[in-house]
Symmetry: D2
Subunit: 120 residues, 4 copies
């Protein structure tokens, strides 16, 4: 039997990637709330990207934290969801929240791609 | 139409509660991974509490972030899930991870109870 | 040790409640997609109710299926989320999908209330 | 503006794939509960596969239902999660629930692969 607690430390790189996913998830949730309050057609297009991105960043962080054998593959998919969401958010350059969301998505995409490559 | 980004700032108290929920969610995911590696009967009992707690802290944070009208009610339920999980983790006092998990659950329970009361 | 598979059968009532939650979850997902395509202000208000309802019906079904000790409490909360979502959907009586969604929410609310009472 | 409800019907193939994902999700939740009750080392290995499979089948069904542009990609990933879970369940041939779970995973994997190919 495993010693209690011995294998629970994530590598620095993976912990940073988890943090990036969770930050991105959080700002996507806030952005969804903001889009719903504004309620225009442009916002609805962004909502679709946000809904995918918020779910996939969340599941990606969870899979890394529980050392899923599919975590690297989910990181690859998460990077693409973040790319799409960043692009959608860039369609509203006048909205500071969307700009912060795009930035968080891009950072998360980059870290997930590195993680996917490192684990492959 | 709402000005872009104007209503997106959470109160300090709510942001702290969101952070406590997300920290608790993270450590629950790590604790689940550890329990699965150890694999004893005691761990399996803790797993059930961890599975509820990790899901409910996550949905509770998300509902606060998107200003759900049911957020206060979910905070009340989250506090109970955290109480049960803390108690389960206390059954393994020799495991430092479980002790950290119990502590995180207790802190989250306290903040969720405050938030539920404040919003009620 | 438990015999394999011996305790895995849900009661008829609980299975029916799980099915009602999953049906409600499915139609909420479809309704969200429809609201995003239509994109008006009324739809955005409904979206908030749909987002809560789809998540809570899902987690409620999962908690019943895995025999969570908090399943009854989640059923109570699920009933309220379904009530709110049904009311929101009723705001669009000209949309057949929203009418079907409201009906599914009402049925799920009723079954969850029964289940919460039965388990309490 | 879109006519209410006009675009909400999924193709027969996609609806069948959604149903397969949701069935697989349900039986994975039941299997997790059973594994936790039995609590042996073999069960713990299966738990990891079940946890990935139950989350990915759920998100895959949701993404199809809300017409996510990433649904095909998630179907591909879901097929692999189901393959891994079926293989894990096959390690307990004496447990009827695990055998039904493996069968549900295989069927879901097949339908997701078809769906991923059809949408590509």
């Amino acid at each position: 039997m495993q010693q209690p607690g011995t294998t629970t430390t994530l590598s620095k790189e993976m912990q940073d990637c988890v943090d990036a996913c969770m930050s991105c998830h959080s700002i996507c949730e806030e952005s969804m709330s903001s889009c719903l309050q504004m309620g225009g057609q442009a916002q609805m297009q962004i909502m679709r990207a946000l809904m995918d991105c918020t779910e996939i960043t969340r599941i990606c962080a969870d899979m890394m934290m529980r050392r899923s054998p599919m975590a690297a593959e989910m990181c690859r998919m998460c990077a693409r969801a973040c790319d799409m969401c960043a692009e959608a958010c860039m369609g509203m350059p006048e909205d500071p929240l969307m700009m912060r969301c795009a930035e968080s998505c891009r950072r998360c995409a980059e870290m997930c791609r590195t993680m996917a490559g490192a684990a492959a």
